[in-house]
């Protein structure tokens, strides 16, 4: 039996875990709860599924953090694999947003869309003013990219306190962004069900906003871990993954800002 032997390879043979099963249960509950809610039922079952999913994420990643700190499991090779995994995950996320940009272009370009052959934004839609709140949000997200890079530099220098400060600044900027997006949604004159402009606008920016919230949670975890001095200049995969994810939501926003807010909101009438 393997317990008698010393591991002769650099890989992490993970112990059996109940989290995948619990996570699957959460997904099933969310599916049934989601359909119930969409068919005029209450939302409680769906929220119960979400709660179980959050609990699963908590427990699963708590295990991963513990494994990263036992000095054995997360070898250089394993850390390289974890980084690769994150890169491929982000690549798949890019393709998710690809679909929503496709929907936007399909609807807003005159050669593709019946609506846009006359006018875009469609009649009756008053788009948000590009250079007010949306531009402020652009500046906020770009600044958060600076602060998270500052945190990374301090981490590489072994300065835990400054790393935590940089992360905290990033988190505050992220929360500010989310708050301003919520304000913008509340102030917008076009509502969710006002046709194709609203559909593309709210789903594209809404999924981006959701990713900002997820990224903020990820950074919060890193903030606590930085304060607990989990990260070393050599080994800080969790931080890297969070920073890459944050840059990814940043880049998606730049595309949203230039394409959906600026170009898509500037308005033209077919001549």
């Amino acid at each position: 039996m393997a317990s008698e032997t010393i591991k002769k390879h650099p890989y992490h043979m993970v112990n059996p875990s109940h989290w995948p099963a619990v996570g699957t249960l959460a997904a099933l509950i969310m599916a049934f709860g989601g359909v119930w809610y969409m068919k005029e039922g209450p939302i409680y079952l769906f929220l119960a599924g979400v709660a179980l999913l959050v609990y699963t994420s908590w427990g699963w990643w708590r295990d991963v953090v513990a494994e990263s700190r036992n000095g054995v499991d997360h070898t250089n090779v394993v850390r390289k694999g974890l980084r690769m995994g994150m890169v491929f995950f982000i690549a798949s996320e890019v393709m998710f947003f690809f679909a929503f940009f496709w929907a936007f272009f399909h609807s807003s370009m005159p050669m593709l869309s019946l609506v846009a052959q006359e006018v875009w934004p469609p009649k009756g839609i008053v788009p948000l003013h590009t250079w007010s709140l949306p531009f402020l949000n652009t500046l906020i997200l770009l600044s958060s990219g600076v602060t998270v890079t500052y945190a990374h530099h301090k981490l590489l220098a072994g300065n835990h306190k400054a790393t935590a400060k940089g992360l905290l600044a990033t988190i505050i900027l992220g929360l500010t962004f989310t708050g301003l997006q919520a304000y913008e949604y509340a102030e917008a004159t076009f509502k969710f069900t006002d046709g194709i402009y609203s559909s593309t606008f709210y789903l594209a920016t809404g999924f981006h906003g959701f990713h900002v919230i997820v990224g903020t949670c990820f950074l919060m975890v890193c903030w606590f871990r930085a304060r607990a001095e989990h990260f070393t200049p050599e080994a800080h995969v969790g931080f890297e993954a969070a920073a890459w994810y944050w840059h990814f939501v940043d880049v998606v926003w730049l595309f949203l800002f230039t394409v959906v807010y600026w170009w898509g909101g500037s308005g033209y009438v077919a001549g």
Partner: protein, 534 residues
């Protein structure tokens, strides 16, 4: 490393009973669960096609008076065969089992994530069955085109359950893809360079990239359909300025890579098997590798050949015709390389090799009709006829099933330690080969005559070939049941086999370990660096 830490590193929980499976982090156990799921799916999806052929055996309505139910059968057959039979068997089952074994790795890169990939797929199958039983079920076809799939024409929750089922299956696939790519890039044995990897591993690598880039686009499209149906968005609603054609673009941008996701692992398996039983290395190894890579790439830029009838610009159609025809070049490289591998080889006609021959035949026939259908002009006549049904069952569906059977017979000794009963396996091959050809070849004729797909009734003029086709379907179904007998007899009383049961032709690393493969393998990493000649 301290002694305590070293002891911890080697510490190995090996739970028994249901926990061994539910909590598994072992690539072989998870691969086995995928294969079992695939067999369950095959029975369900096969039963559905059996019912479809029963209804179509004669003109007029035989026993399905509820046409929505007929549409649900067609939809369920498609979804189950694609997502719950072929993909779990090839990528989840054989991919899990043999990628680590072939590259000399002790397990997958993310064993826990591997497990949730499996269980999410099991949950997705549950949701799909719930969908079929909810308020008339989804009768949309696997393409789920709006407006048929919108809230007006499918108001019930069946389509919503179907969408969520695909979401879970998609999450399962994306996580599986990340796992496989990372495993292949990060865990190859010393000396196992990319250009020395077995072709099956290459096929899984290409497939995983297709999954990674295609599935999220489907997820986006499904989400739009879900909000259109339930929250008042207008992505595919013309009344709100949307466009149902957008769905077709998004769906086929996923859907075309998806059919390559199904067939590329088959390429890999057939390459291993043809080489093993010809006792020769694969002819043109690098050409085979880059043929798969280019098929995967081109798969992303041909999607609108599924949409020749929707009013695309003529220049757009000219592009998609050309790009689609280009696919014939790398697929031709593969076919001729398999033939060249066999040429001058000492061919052993064992069951895996028989199924590999069957695969090549089916794939060539389907490939030829594919070149016909690639023409936008010809497709005006063939679109939505049984010619298309015959084409994709030959090239993709049945060909993939032959590769799965070939893989099963090739590797069951490694997985179970027992040999299949040879005579029964041969009987299975011949009945299955005759069955599918009798079932699908006549569909070319009825399709060229104009028989439409997805309709439970047809004019008397199509009666003859439909009758033949149904007979072929029954032979195929009986043959499938025979396969389950083979499985049962293998596991119960098959003769024990050695580590390398195929002899000199089998050169990949899985044949260097015992049969059945022990719970953990390659704990001493094999050295694949070229050894100096003695």
């Amino acid at each position: 490393m301290s002694n305590e830490a070293a002891a911890h590193a080697g510490h190995d929980h090996h739970p028994t009973g249901w926990r061994r499976w539910l909590y598994s982090t072992n690539h072989k156990d998870i691969g086995t669960m995928y294969l079992v799921l695939s067999m369950v799916g095959a029975l369900l999806g096969g039963l559905m096609s059996f019912l479809i052929r029963l209804e179509l055996q004669e003109p007029g309505i035989q026993f399905i008076s509820d046409f929505q139910f007929y549409n649900v059968l067609v939809t369920g057959h498609g979804f189950i065969m694609v997502f719950f039979v072929v993909m779990p068997a090839m990528i989840g089952g054989f991919g899990n089992w043999f990628v680590p074994l072939m590259i000399g790795a002790p397990d997958m890169a993310f064993p826990r994530m591997n497990n949730i990939s499996f269980w999410l797929l099991a949950a997705a199958l549950v949701l799909l069955l719930v969908a079929a039983l909810t308020e008339g079920g989804p009768g949309t076809g696997w393409t789920v085109y709006p407006p048929l799939s919108n809230a007006t024409y499918h108001p019930g929750a069946g389509v919503d359950f179907g969408i969520l089922s695909l979401h879970l299956a998609g999450a399962s696939s994306v996580l599986g893809a990340i796992n496989l790519i990372t495993t292949i890039f990060n865990m190859r044995a010393p000396g196992m360079t990319l250009h020395r990897m077995p072709l099956f591993v290459w096929s899984i690598l290409v497939t995983a990239f297709l999954l990674l880039f295609a599935i999220p686009v489907l997820a986006g499209a499904l989400t739009m359909l879900l909000t259109d149906r339930n929250f008042g968005t207008a992505f595919f609603e013309t009344a709100g300025g949307g466009d149902p054609i957008l769905w077709q673009h998004l769906f086929w941008f996923f859907g075309h890579p998806e059919v390559y996701i199904i067939i590329i692992p088959a390429f890999g398996m057939i390459s291993q098997i043809v080489s093993t039983f010809s006792k020769k290395p694969v002819f043109g190894y690098l050409g085979m590798v880059y043929a798969m890579v280019s098929i995967g790439f081109v798969g992303f830029i041909v999607w609108a050949h599924h949409m020749y009838m929707v009013g695309l610009d003529v220049d757009t159609r000219a592009y998609f015709v050309t790009a689609t025809m280009v696919i014939a070049v790398p697929t031709g490289i593969k076919i001729f390389s398999w033939l060249a591998t066999m040429w001058g080889g000492s061919i052993d006609f064992r069951a895996p090799m028989l199924f590999a021959f069957g695969f090549i035949w089916l794939f060539v026939v389907g490939g030829v009709t594919g070149v016909v259908l690639a023409n936008a002009g010809a497709d005006i006549a063939f679109h939505d006829t049984y010619f298309v049904v015959a084409h994709f069952h030959y090239v993709m569906a049945i060909a993939a099933v032959f590769a799965m059977f070939a893989g099963f017979y090739y590797w069951i000794g490694k997985m179970s330690g027992r040999q299949y009963p040879r005579a029964l396996a041969r009987l299975h091959f011949w009945t299955f080969f005759i069955g599918v050809n009798v079932a699908f070849f006549p569909q070319h004729f009825s399709g060229m005559a104009g028989m439409p797909r997805r309709i439970p009734d047809y004019p008397d003029a199509f009666a003859g070939w439909n009758y033949v086709s149904s007979i072929g379907s029954y032979i195929t179904f009986a043959s499938t049941l025979l396969f389950f007998v083979v499985v049962w007899k293998t596991l119960k009383s098959g003769e024990k086999v050695a580590g390398n049961q195929w002899g000199e032709g089998a050169t990949t690393l899985e044949w260097t370990v015992d049969s059945p493969a022990p719970f953990h393998t390659h704990e001493d990493l094999p050295d694949m660096n070229p050894q100096p000649a003695e």
